[in-house]
Amino acid sequence: MRLSSYRRELQNEIKRLIHDPVLLSIVVVIFALLIIFIIFPLVKVVQFSLWPGGKFDPKYFLNFFRKTYYWRPLINSMIVGSLVSLFGTIVAFIFAYGITRTDIPGKGIFRLIAVMPIVSPPFLIALAAILLLGNHGVITDALRLNWDIYGLPGLVLTETMAYFPIAFMILEGVLAKIDPSIEEAALDMGASKLRTFLTVTLPLAIPGIASAMLLVFIRSLEDFGNPVVIQGNFQVLTVAAYHAVTGMYNMPLGATLAIFMLLPTLMIFIVQKYYVARRSYITVTGKPSGVGLKSTEPHVKYPVLALMIFLSGVILLMYGVVLFGSFTKIWGIDNTLTIQNYLYVFKVGGQYVLDTIQIALIATPIGGVLSILIAYLVVRKRFIGRGAMEFISMLNFAVPGVVVGIGYILAFNTPPLRLSGTALIIILVFIFRRMPVGIRDGIAQLQQIDPSIEEASSSLGAGFFRTFTRVTLPLVAPAFLSGLVYIFVRCMTAISAVVFVVSASWQLLTVALLYEVDQANLAAAAAYGYVIIAIVLTAIVFMRFVVERLFQKGFSPIARE
């Protein structure tokens, strides 16, 4: 009986889908896109690794364990990932605690500084580290030190600075949601502040801390920009795969290394999503009160404040030194100020600027609309394969950029889908790599909107298309536009996946920056960095202006309860 009613519901679902041709065709088209541009490249990676030359032959796979040269980068990546995850989460926790749980001044500025590394090209930090601590670095010279920033110390330093903002955003949310009355209850029963922190606050934050550590670990593991600049002889997996593909043209080896990058990130992603996220106490007790218990004791407040000032100083110093470096003649040798680097960027790299902006402007709206459409289908529609659609479209959240890049050159190098060398392949990488965040935000936004608004539209006779364009899209417009900004920013700053698909005819700013670093032309690299930052900031300011103009009427699309 149970099974039969389940089967009948399933039949009804299929029938409904067939009777709604617009929805059906959209679902089919999206599935086709997801399979071609997400699943197919991953399948290709596995195929090239295990079936090199068409026959099953696990020699590359087995060789991985035999030769130190192959498995050492994996160990190195793990070491870097663990350290970065630990230090990044500690730094993030200090910032999050200071902002949500104390009454220190200047919270807005600290917050801004803490999220700054998100909107800049990630490896700008590595460049800054070289300018500060490298052979001709400001600090190296000033203190007459004789050290080597390249290798493990540089990797840990730069990735910690680059990825602690992700942990910060998670921990800030978690700490802000811990109901202060729980802490007050502990204090009421006579526990000291420290005891309350250790026995109440910290345990409640543990799921959040675990999430933060895992995500930072993934980010570190898949980071390509910083290691390629600063790894020195401490080879990590992403760079090893890059060299295998672009230096040795050894596709099976590159694919094999990609698999060993993919396995841990996928595992961690699943652990984080299905295990840690479910342990959260916050969602169970969750009354977001916003106001935390503010600790005002000087012995808590001032050490936290001092640490935050120090860390913020380090971040500002890094951005400052890159800015300064972009105006020097030859970094470390002739530090006279000049604007020749910027002239150089526009003369040599002018085409790159145009290419990058053009590609970003094409990828952004397509990616944005596709994300919202998928979010809409997942939240509002019931159809066969809805769960699969959500899973596949979110998959690239866990797949390292290097794996995506290798997958794309393997998948789209031969007919019928010969895309290598075109702008289209870069656009596709951007769209399908940035979609998960757009979908996640779209889902969150749609869940806030009363479904009866859309039901009203269809009960008044409007079909799927009209309801989506006239009702849903205007209602999610604010989230949609900020999603567009996010995609645009990531297009401007991304490197790890696209480095594989750029070509002589289509070049990107980030890749040009990397080239200058490679040529030891640090001043020009710094200028490229600031050109990117300027474009990103312009886009953010412009979008904010547009949003304010469009929505000054001030409707609230959120359903009133």
Partner: protein, 363 residues
């Protein structure tokens, strides 16, 4: 009036989570609604009334069974093609549109000429007293006004069936009564066949041509307000609609359209269809609190002792202990006239003969 606009036939809706857990939200539900009638689905939350309404609108599909609108089976017709309009509990107004744009939306979808849209919108807004607010954004309106915009938006397209999903539950009590009258008046004037979902029995009873009482997904009774109150089909309906005392009684004699019972050592003859009853059967007598007179001790059918008195001004509700130890509630209207009785007082109770309703004992 045999012209049926809506027909539910053996509707079953199962919500399943995979193959191992399932909930039967609607269970073998059948109902017909004639043209121009307003039928209310009434029941406690979770009884399946909203699911039934949403199956009619097309937002949910029935697991089995069929829905007909004007003799056309609409099982596989998407909501936008069913010509039903819903007034939602949360109104579901388009927050990014003005009052005019909200009401005109359904007409625009139907490609009605612009001039005609203008006329029809003005017409319908004036019906509910919202003329002059066309340019307002719906966010600037009060709750009651928003509710009326939602109503206008639903009726302006002249749907075959108008659906109401607890439309008044977000209004305060005073406003609710006025809006209730307005909905009923409009519905009758325009002659729109309507299905109305509510958990508020007073709302249901005042507004409906017929009420379908639902519980755990099943139709319990279909009848007018008077029928479901005075002749409830079962214990659930008797208990859910108003207050009820269930008193044990034994059947002495069964006649044509009359049943004689023994209750509290007294023999009473009740006017009721007797076909289901047989002599010597144990039954339950439904006695409404207001259908009992409180009189001098030893003067009535039974004596009782007052345990508690709930004085609310217009009435006083006495909780009483009967000789067998069971509890009964009796309501006395206008207590000022008769004087309040103290807790512990012994009184006599006399049951109103005509108001007693007998139910088969439920196992």
């Amino acid at each position: 009036m045999n012209d049926l606009v809506v027909r539910f036939e053996h509707i079953v809706k199962v919500f399943s989570e995979g193959t191992h857990r399932e909930v039967r939200a609607v269970d073998d539900f059948s109902l017909s609604v004639a043209r121009g009638q307003l039928v209310t689905l009434l029941g406690p939350s979770g009884c399946g009334k909203t699911t039934t309404l949403r199956i009619l609108a097309g937002f949910e599909s029935a697991t089995s069974g069929s829905v007909y609108i004007e003799d056309r089976c609409v099982n596989d017709i998407p909501p936008q093609k069913r010509e039903t309009s819903m007034v939602f509990q949360s109104y579901g107004l388009f927050p990014h549109m003005t009052v005019y744009e909200n009401v005109a939306y359904g007409l625009k979808v139907k490609h009605v000429p612009k001039a005609q849209i203008k006329r029809q919108v003005a017409e319908v807004l004036s019906l509910v007293g919202l003329e002059g607010l066309e340019r307002r954004s719906v966010g600037q309106l009060s709750g009651g006004q928003q509710q009326r915009v939602a109503l206008c938006r639903a009726i302006v397209t002249k749907p075959k069936v108008l659906l109401f999903d607890e439309p008044l539950s977000n209004l305060d009590a005073k406003l609710r009564k006025g809006t209730r009258e307005q909905i009923r008046r409009l519905q009758q004037e325009l002659g729109i066949t309507s299905i109305y979902v509510t958990h508020d029995q007073a709302e249901a009873m005042s507004i409906s041509d017929a009420i379908a009482v639902m519980n755990v997904g099943r139709l319990q009774q279909l009848g007018t307000a008077e029928e479901i109150y005075s002749r409830p089909a079962n214990r659930f309906v008797a208990d859910f609609i108003g207050e009820a005392n269930f008193l044990p009684a034994r059947i002495i004699e069964v006649g044509d359209g009359r049943v004689t019972i023994r209750i509290f050592e007294t023999e009473i003859t009740v006017e009721q269809d007797s076909t289901n009853f047989s002599p010597n059967e144990e039954v339950e007598a439904v006695v409404r609190p207001e259908a009992v007179d409180v009189i001098e001790v030893d003067q009535g059918d039974v004596n009782a002792e007052i345990l508690f008195s709930h004085y609310t001004g217009s009435v006083v509700l006495y909780a009483l202990k009967l000789p067998d130890g069971s509890r009964m509630e009796v309501q006395v209207a206008n207590p000022k006239e008769r004087g309040l009785l103290p807790v512990g007082a012994r009184v006599g109770l006399r049951l109103h003969r005509k108001s007693i309703h007998l139910l088969k004992k439920e196992l």
